[in-house]
Symmetry: C2
Subunit: 505 residues, 2 copies
């Protein structure tokens, strides 16, 4: 009987091979997966104890067969076949760029990115990792930023659960020998996230290090990228994030290395998972226009500039660090829940995607942003509320009204997707509002959304104010009432409007 | 007995001259005011009914004499002299640029600009104008933006108190004949402000017009600028603002005219009063680097960019429209009092000066921003509080810490003047803080300022956290604790810190 797996799940086959010398360096292995006239090259990897593996994520139903090529005779010329069935209902396939500034799963389901951050959660005690998964199950985050390496940083001084590389006889880390146990654990957590519908945004390098991982040689880095890609590429929910704050590593890893890391991923990931890179200094963005970058990953508090970044890069904007809700000392980690909620709405209503993190001071330094565990804040619920509202209307992705330029859209935020218009007023508190309301002859209803209290009520529709017929009005007509109707508002901040055509009851 | 006036007060002398024809166009008059070897040329003006006037603001004590030159024989060769005494205690002289990014009166007293806006207050009924002055006396605003011409705009549809030009036999405005009554009234209000220590930031042109003032010919505009300068230049508290939203007038008044307006002011104002020009579209700033612009007048909500503007223009930054507190329909006029207070603090703590306006919806459209009258909001008291705090410490002007660039000063705001350091945390709510605290060996005390509740209490000083001695710490040492002490904070937003050396009790 043929083995069978569902489309976008992972097919894995293992082989016994040589274990002497250093198989990580000495042995090559590739698989060639074929269906009809199509063949996909897939890199294999050494998993320790003489075991080599090939992993493959099929993107088409039906029978696939494979053969292997290897420098080791016992791994060379192996072959087999398996059947691919329809995807499981909750697996929509890997996320890709869609409609230039947005994302969708491979089956076309729009993916609205609502990420959070637990940099080193897979390196905490297992009981803490369970807590993290339990917490994530209660939230509506669908992307998690997480590092392969452990983290050494203020509030992060504990030793990791596993060494990521093996130790030699002297107890020194040997950066030519990955530790399979560590990678297996990491992969299990990536899978656990995938089963929950959460994308694993895998941070491959970072500078917060006391063990030496950030100081591997150029060659070791390249091998590391290839190894990681070979092991993890077949997981449907993987995103590649080359680094956190890559610019703080530029003193030892110059720019050509970063370009090369991207290429190594492309060479070893036949599925084309999303690829991005994250800056520290807001002036040090990597050039996200480069062809191998799929979307711009931004760290920037000035979220009203989202349209500027869309225009600069022509790609989806994921602002993963618009600062974190919390109260710790560093100023990237101590904004209020109200402010982070505000920044999520502004970003979303200007055609971008924001990311969450939480950094509340804790007596044992158990802080969500790095270690996971429990959430203590108030933004995450509001972010879930925003996601639910956007999901109700998403078709191709919310595009900023007026390109986000022009009056009044530099001041307030508004976006449209299909027949739905949403306007986020934020720090503005008008008692009437008219800009951006549709002016065709269909009948509309307007919902008033309280973004903090998470309520949705009908807004009162009133006649639009008269256009003021003077010279100034003639010059800047776009500044004048531009719709046949207006709405009456309660005159308080942090409200949004949702405008939709009246639904047949 | 010689007439005598105080330094920086206004000396005025009038002459009977021709009243036939059009003396505004036909008769030239200049005065030459001399003390020792110095002679100052001062333009005269026609005030109607055959009366011509010369006004002069002496900037030096002692005897001055003058002679006149005129195209009319009865005005030519007149002369006289007068004595100038020490200035009145509350007249510190006109405000000038000081220390590149700041202002000071002519006697050296620092001028911290805290402006507000009543565009058309001098065109309202006199009882409303009295209310405006009465309100201003209760506030601590020291600059008022006010237009020469009446205003036609939403919420502003009433006829003005006076025509600014005379009407001809057919009732049409004659833009070759200014209406002296209108100008005399305007001047009286400028003087009333001066007596209260308030700078009159005189807006010479604007596009909100139904009477035709914004459509005068190029020649008429040039004559208007010269006339206004001749009449008003001798008031110590005058600032020249060429236009409100000049870019909305570019279709009929091209750029070379705006440059020429500046030059006409310079030719007719021997005192060098401050000169600026105000934009509508944030992308349409006039090039404030031009030599004849004394300071950059900005309309922009994105106040954390204040340092960027300082660097771009190299002049004082007066952000007169960081949006207004209110609740009217247009989004420049409906931010919360909290948000405007926040923007004032951010601007001030990045080395700029913000401006206030209030736009609360009113059943009779009596809105402070255009008509003056009464204030209904909550920002003005907080702005007064900020001014008082800054005045306590000002010496040469508050300069942004770290030039405002670099971490964490792109996120939070901090400034120093002399031995005083102030840090505004805004939307940040750390429970401890260390960045920017001085690290020399003097003894410091720290005040905790609640910017909304307007309280000042002693902050608890605690030891600085340890520097985290890892690779990342080594790369970006400036991101680490940089002082020997830190402060404990209550973990709420909108707080500021003031750090001063311990005063001898």
């Amino acid at each position: 009987m043929t083995q069978s797996i569902a489309k976008w799940d992972m097919f894995e086959v293992s082989f016994a091979g040589p274990s002497d010398g250093n198989p990580f360096l000495d042995v090559t292995l590739e698989g060639f997966f074929t269906q009809y006239a199509r063949t996909v090259r897939v890199p294999g990897f050494y998993d320790g104890n003489g075991t080599f593996r090939l992993r493959f994520m099929p993107d088409n139903e039906g029978v696939w067969s494979f053969t292997t090529k290897s420098s080791a005779s016992e791994l060379d010329g192996q072959s087999g076949s398996f059947a691919v069935t329809a995807p499981r209902p909750d697996n929509h396939g890997p996320v890709q760029v869609a409609n230039r500034y947005h994302f969708a799963h491979a089956d076309g389901t729009p993916f609205l990115s609502f990420g959070t951050t637990c940099y080193a959660w897979t390196h905490q005690p297992l009981s803490e990792q369970d807590k993290t998964l339990h917490t994530l199950a209660r939230t509506r985050f669908n992307k998690l930023r997480m590092g392969v390496f452990p983290k050494d940083y203020p509030y992060n001084v504990n030793e990791p659960l596993h060494d990521v590389y093996q130790r030699d006889a002297d107890g020194e880390l040997d950066f030519d020998r990955p530790n399979p146990e560590s990678f297996r654990h990491f992969e299990n957590q990536v899978k656990a996230l995938g089963d929950m519908g959460i994308q694993a945004d895998i941070i491959m390098l970072h500078p917060y290090d006391r063990w030496g991982y950030s100081g591997m040689s150029e060659t070791q880095d390249y091998r590391y990228f290839a190894y990681l890609t070979a092991r993890l590429g077949a997981y449907h929910n993987v995103w590649w994030s080359l680094a956190n704050e890559y610019d703080f590593l530029l003193d030892t890893k110059p720019m050509h290395q970063w370009d090369r890391y991207f290429h190594i991923i492309e060479e070893n990931d036949p599925y084309g998972h999303l690829r991005s890179i994250h800056n520290g200094d807001p002036e040090a963005n990597y050039d996200h226009r480069k062809a191998w970058v799929t979307h711009a990953c931004i760290q920037n508090w000035d979220v009203k500039r989202t349209v500027e970044w869309r225009n600069a890069y022509g790609k989806p904007i994921v602002n993963d660090e618009p600062e974190y809700e919390g109260n710790i000392n560093p100023s990237w980690g101590n904004i209020t829940a109200e402010e982070l909620t505000h920044r999520f709405w502004i970003t979303a209503m200007r055609g971008g995607y924001a990311g969450h993190g939480e950094t509340y001071s804790h007596p044992e330094d158990l802080i969500w942003w790095a270690k996971g565990g429990e959430l203590h804040g108030q933004a995450w619920q509001r972010i879930a509320f925003l996601r639910s509202i956007m999901e109700e209307s998403v078709s191709t992705g919310f595009e900023p009204i007026n390109g986000g330029a022009g009056w009044p859209w530099s001041r307030v935020s508004g976006a449209r997707d299909g027949d739905t218009t949403m306007i986020y007023l934020g720090e503005h508190q008008p008692v009437t509002w008219v800009s951006g309301l549709p002016q065709d002859d269909r009948k509309y209803e307007v919902d008033l959304i309280d973004t903090w209290n998470m309520t949705i009520t009908a807004a009162k529709i009133i006649p639009a104010p008269e256009n003021h017929p003077t010279r100034h009005g003639a010059i800047v007509r776009q500044r004048k009432p531009d719709a046949a109707f207006a709405v009456e508002l309660p005159g308080k901040p942090y409200l949004a409007l949702r405008v939709r055509t009246v639904r047949k009851g």
